[in-house]
Amino acid sequence: MSQVLLDVRDLVVEFPTRKGLVQAVSGVSFELRRGETLALVGESGCGKSTTARAVMQLPRPTSGHISLEGDDLVAAGKRDLRRLRRRFQMIFQNPIASLNPRKRISEIIEKPLKIAGLLDAEKRRQAVEELLETVGLDPAVAMDKRPHEFSGGQCQRISIARALILEPDLLICDEPVSALDVSIQAQILNLLEDMKQRYDLTMLFISHDLAVVRNVADRVAVMYLGRFCEVGTSERLFDNPAHPYTRALLSAIPVPDPTVTPKPIEMIQGDLPSPISPPSGCRFRTRCPVASDRCAAEVPQMRDLPDGRAVACHHPLIGG
């Protein structure tokens, strides 16, 4: 097995809000091996993006350890962190908003090099041109334009170029295709797959779309209200969910096939509980069809199932 690149232990992120302290991420642990793609899935408010940003140290997490091949990111000082940032980069959900509207494309992409103090102007320009070509844009046309002259898909290509110019080890993708149309989405997903091969990337992929996740991920972690429900390889998890929430999510996805009648989802309808005062015990219990008294009393711990995945549930759907 390849070595661990990113190790996250007991990550907690809290935000003060007007109504009280919100714990957006409550003790999440995972590791990411070199060359692997781990997807975090869940619905809005589950803490998946917060987790990704905590890994980016934007903002710094409340507690927990995050180490990138032995370098502790949480403990790193400002200066060290800035140096370490070269090795982990991020692309964002909104491709247009993530590019400064007042800057030229060439300035946007070369900025990481400039800040890192790498290469001279001529070499930087060359690097930008090569990378633009790699992500499928014509450098001659694109270099001197500004972001608003491009479509969403093209802007996402530019974002990818900016993230890759420092040749990072880890690429964090925060909902990179959810703002894009289906036909463009496929282009970007294919491009990410190509870049992963070419630059030997390890990816942390955040998405609410399970079909997209199925396509890109080696392993998947399902999140609900700040905690992991289930982590496993994408085949096992999708073909045979162990956590009732995973099953509910999967059953809710509409299938583009008229011969499949949509089934009612296996989850109690209702609102997401308030993250300020989450339910005791298992956080999913208020909407879980198989919840018992034990679920209210006792927080389910992550445990390994025989098939190699981990689930946090008192009544898993398989492997008891």
Binding site: E43, S44, S151, G153, Q154, D181, V182, S183, I184, Q185, A186, Q187, L189, N190, E193, H208, D209, L210, A211, V212, R214, N215, V216, A217, D218, S234, E235, F238, A248, L249, L250, S251, A252, I253, P254, V255, P256, D257, P258, T259, V260, T261, P262, P264, I265, M267, Q269, G270, D271, L272
Partner: protein
């Protein structure tokens, strides 16, 4: 065969802009019988929402509907009616649900009032009776504690609940036709299926006609009788849902279906993406609008607009393509 409830004949909607005339909707013809559900599918910019607003009469002032367009609803031409008669149709005739429930409810008006306001205007219902009816409707759309919620403001509800309120508002005047414009796009996937189930139930129970606008072919597949696929302002393929999915003819429809990542495919499978991007609607390509992105396009496609033609097996299945896909053949190589 009964006369259709809604019939669009050669409907176009153009926007005036300094850069030129934007042909947001261009020559759309489609008809819908009472009690049917039509799925209107397309990517952003395909004109599906503009078409909905054209039917509903909600276009901005710089829009123009060119001569020759006709929208017949229940025997009336909506485009030539006087304003007052047209308003009498909005509500009891046609109701609408919008995409984002966070912005489609008035933030400073009580939920109950928003529900019964239409009834008061059209039927002269009293306030007390309207409030009673609003509570009934809120119960019907699955809102817990409707007698409390009726006096609350929208921000006190979650997104899914607000969309249920929006449905109650649309249902209040018992419309014959309900247009739902991407009703679940802004919602989480587990909430989405609840809303779609509700819409489907109401449609069936009330014998209502429903137009479901979405970008998600999956949503359409399980819940619509008919599908119309839009691309760059026009309908490129329409037919019964079963036939359209089983015997896809138009190259764009097929490309769209192919580009969707699917749960039943293995991980890391290369997706069949569509190259390029949708055309500029100020100066659209002269021929087939999909031609610049189509793997099967040739000189003919670039020169002339393909006419609508019927599928051999099902005459209600119509499509606009010079080189339609052979539905009997499983996969095809690029010609």
């Amino acid at each position: 065969m009964a006369a259709p409830l809604l019939e669009l004949t050669n409907v176009s909607t153009h926007f005036h802009s300094p850069a030129g005339r934007v042909r947001a909707v261009d020559g759309v013809s489609v008809s819908l019988e009472a009690g049917q559900t039509l799925g209107l599918v397309g990517e952003s910019g395909s004109g599906k929402s503009v078409l909905a607003r054209t039917i509903m009469g909600l276009l901005p002032s710089y829009a123009e509907i060119p001569e020759g367009s006709a929208i017949t609803f229940d025997g009336h031409n909506l485009l030539t009616m006087d304003r007052k008669a047209r308003r009498a149709i909005s509500g009891p005739g046609i109701g609408m649900i919008f995409q984002d429930p966070m912005t489609s409810l008035n933030p400073v008006m009580k939920i109950g009032q928003q529900v019964y306001e239409g009834m008061r205007h059209h039927f002269g219902t009293s306030k007390a009776a309207g409030r009673e009816r609003a509570i009934e409707l809120l119960t019907e759309v699955g809102i817990p504690q409707p007698d409390v919620r009726v006096d609350q403001f929208p921000h006190q509800l979650s997104g899914g609940m607000r969309q249920r309120v929006a449905i109650a508002i649309a249902l209040a005047c018992e419309p014959k036709l309900l247009i739902a414009d991407e009703p679940t796009t802004a919602l989480d996937v587990t909430v989405q299926s609840g809303i779609l189930d509700l819409l489907q139930r109401e449609q069936r129970d009330r014998g209502m006609t429903l137009i479901l606008i979405t970008h998600d072919l999956g949503v359409v597949a399980g819940r619509c009788d008919q599908v119309a696929v839009m691309y760059a302002g026009g309908i490129v393929e329409t037919g019964s849902t079963r036939s359209l999915f089983a015997r896809t003819r138009m190259r764009y429809t097929q490309a769209l279906l192919d580009s969707i990542p699917r749960l039943d495919r293995p991980p890391h499978e290369r997706l069949k993406s569509i190259g390029g991007r949708p055309p500029n609607l100020i100066t659209p390509p002269p021929g087939c609008r999909f031609a610049p992105r189509c793997a099967f396009a040739d000189a003919k496609c670039e020169a002339g607009i393909p006419p609508m033609q019927a599928d051999e097996a099902d005459s209600t299945h119509r499509f606009a393509c010079w080189h339609p896909r052979d539905p009997e053949q499983a996969t095809e190589e690029v010609a």
